[in-house]
């Protein structure tokens, strides 16, 4: 099993009030699964994704990734896992504005410690695989929204991670561009990647194999998608 979540809770302290974002999530995800997480706003989707992506730690419960207990790890080990095991795609792209596409994609490889020449070829390949071979030296503000998201996807997959996590990757894009992005994810899934994405759109969730529906920090339903392959 790639991911095992057991009784994951997450509380936020806002002043004197404790906000419960996740109330006890149990979920297993296997290699090469393609999962959509859905649910109303505030139901805890992003909170869950951040925990899965080792950006945030749960208040209680256990998270096993490749049979490693994440809660036992220190900051630097978590950074290593984010670097090697996880590719995160954000709704707002989160590219470095002063770096061009190639440099943005190279970044995870820099932190991994790869030599420059190797970095360059790997980053080029990743950009080519998302159809941006001719936009390598464009800065983010010289790219369209869809192109920016494709750079972000190239950055997420350049290190060959175990999981690709995408929190509303099409949220800031029109539906046609969104479809193009979904096609890329589909290709990645077919190539053997494990993908978990958050979406509000049923037609986007239809692309996936499995839909996990959250409500008030709990899993309401966990089912196979009817459009599934």
């Amino acid at each position: 099993m790639l991911i095992q979540l057991e009784n994951i809770t997450k509380n936020y302290q806002v002043g004197t009030v404790t906000v419960t974002a996740l109330q006890g999530i149990r979920m297993d995800i296997d290699h090469n699964e393609y999962v959509a997480i859905m649910g109303p706003s505030g139901s805890g989707k992003s909170t869950l994704m951040n925990i899965l992506g080792c950006l945030d730690t749960p208040s209680s419960g256990s998270y096993l990734l490749n049979n490693n207990r994440i809660s036992d790890l220190d900051d630097d080990r978590l950074a290593e896992i984010r670097n090697r095991e996880i590719g995160f795609v954000f709704q707002t792209f989160n590219l470095l504005p002063r770096a061009n596409a190639l440099q943005n994609v190279e970044l995870p490889l820099i932190y991994r410690g790869l030599p420059a020449a190797k970095r360059r070829t790997q980053a080029r390949d990743a950009l080519a695989s998302v159809g941006l071979a001719d936009r390598m030296d464009h800065k983010p503000n010289e790219l369209s929204g869809g192109q920016r998201q494709r750079v972000a996807i190239a950055r997420a997959l350049v290190n060959n991670p175990s999981i690709i996590l995408a929190d509303e990757p099409t949220g800031n894009l029109d539906s046609r561009t969104g479809d193009e992005i979904m096609e890329i994810f589909e290709g990645l899934h077919e190539a053997g990647n494990t993908i978990i994405l958050v979406t509000h759109e049923e037609y986007i969730a239809e692309h996936t194999d499995r839909i996990v529906r959250l409500r008030d920090g709990l899993i309401e339903r966990d089912e196979a998608a009817n459009g599934g392959h």
């Binding site: 984010r82 670097n83 995160f88 932190y111």
Partner: protein
């Protein structure tokens, strides 16, 4: 991640805010510029004093009535009651100072006008009545002809050796050797010309002539004080020679034990020591100014780095989300602070050198750049960047990735 990877990142960040960076750097620029300008002028001066003021030959010191350099105005009242130094002391030193290789005696008379035919010098020529040791002990070399020999001295011959300037003034067109010149109305035959020693701070060092000491006494009398020059056998015996000479002088002059010397000893070091004392305060002030502006600069750098960390919180979040460790972020901002202050250091050094050159151009003060000040300056800048960058960089490194990513 390799530390060097941070340098292009830092350069981009510094360049992205050019004006802000330059304003931040003013403190460092001023500090480094001050140090470099002052150091290169002081070193230049010191070097030229070494080269030019070396009034004596190597391992030589001179016993004289008055201190060579006097500070404070009361010098004359204080020293004029001293007894003149006489040939008696010269003989005693010559006999008893075993660490001496050669001991010379010199009488001096300034303000003389010398003549040769219708040519005459300005009345500024000093006449020295000396012994054969003169040339060695004063670090001169013969240019033409020969110097005074012991026989010349023994027989009080009317011979004269000319300083290069005197030779030029009296014999603009012809060879001075074997010609006659007049000193205070008496005839002297030119037997040699000294090599030029150039000038120190615009003052020629070739405006005198040397005659045998006995001949000098015949012309000018001996109601004056003698200078005794002593050359030690070796550098190791220099201090011994000085101690022996002091002892001999005190005995002959009957200075009671415990009383200070009633004569002075002058050496090449005397001038350099004097100069170093003089410039010590200039150095201290320069270092104080530089320290204060480096401190101010450091605070400025800390401030701008804190602003930079806040502005780039999101960037830090992005970097952490794709695998930057704490120390990666820490070094990124530390190196940015160091690059920033080094930029100031380099500008400061360039400006400082330019300024020192300019001063050297418009004044007789020479400039020399001691390489260690440049290195030290750059090291200081790195230290400033490092010290004042630690707090902002630590702040950046400690940011929680998810908090940083949410930062608006």
């Amino acid at each position: 991640m390799q530390l060097a990877e941070n340098i292009p990142i830092a350069l981009t960040a510094v360049r992205a805010n050019k004006m802000r960076s330059i304003l931040t750097l003013l403190g460092i620029i001023i500090g480094v510029m001050t140090i470099i300008t002052m150091q290169s002028l002081i070193t230049g001066l010191r070097k030229s004093i070494h080269e030019q003021v070396t009034a004596l030959g190597s391992n030589v010191f001179q016993v004289q009535k008055f201190p060579a350099i006097h500070t404070g105005g009361d010098m004359f009242r204080k020293y004029r009651n001293r007894k003149n130094i006489t040939l008696k002391e010269y003989e005693a030193v010559k006999e008893h100072v075993t660490a001496a290789k050669s001991v010379g005696a010199e009488y001096w008379m300034g303000g003389q006008e010398l003549r040769h035919g219708e040519h005459k010098t300005l009345p500024i020529i000093s006449v020295c009545g000396g012994t054969p040791e003169f040339i060695d002990n004063n670090g001169y070399e013969i240019g033409d002809g020969r110097f005074i020999t012991p026989q010349d001295v023994d027989h009080n011959r009317q011979y004269v050796v000319l300083g290069a300037d005197v030779a030029r003034q009296l014999f603009p067109y012809d060879d001075p050797l074997q010609k006659e010149i007049k000193i205070s109305g008496r005839r002297f035959e030119v037997i040699g010309v000294l090599q030029s020693r150039g000038s120190t701070f615009g003052q020629s060092r070739d405006t005198y002539v040397v005659i045998p000491i006995g001949s000098f006494i015949k012309v000018f009398g001996k109601e004056r004080s003698l200078n005794i020059t002593v050359q030690a056998i070796s550098a190791e015996l220099y201090n011994t020679a000085m101690e022996q000479t002091t002892g001999v002088m005190r005995v002959v002059r009957k200075v009671p034990p415990g009383e200070p010397n009633d004569f002075d000893i002058f050496s090449n070091d005397t001038l350099i020591e004097f100069f170093d004392n003089l410039t010590r305060y200039v150095r201290i002030v320069a270092i104080a100014i530089a320290s204060i502006s480096l401190l101010v600069a450091g605070i400025g750098i800390m401030n701008i780095m804190l602003v930079s960390v806040t502005e780039r919180t999101r960037e830090i979040g992005i970097r952490k989300s794709i695998g930057a460790k704490r120390r990666d972020v820490l070094w990124q901002f530390l190196i940015e602070a160091i690059v920033l202050s080094e930029a100031g250091g380099v500008i400061g050094i360039v400006l400082g050198l330019t300024l020192a050159r300019l001063v050297a151009l418009v004044s007789p003060v020479p400039a020399a750049v001691p390489i260690w000040t440049v290195v030290l300056g750059l090291l200081f800048c790195s230290a400033v960047g490092l010290i004042f960058g630690v707090y902002p960089a630590t702040k950046a490194a400690r940011l929680d990735p998810i908090v940083a990513l949410r930062f608006e």
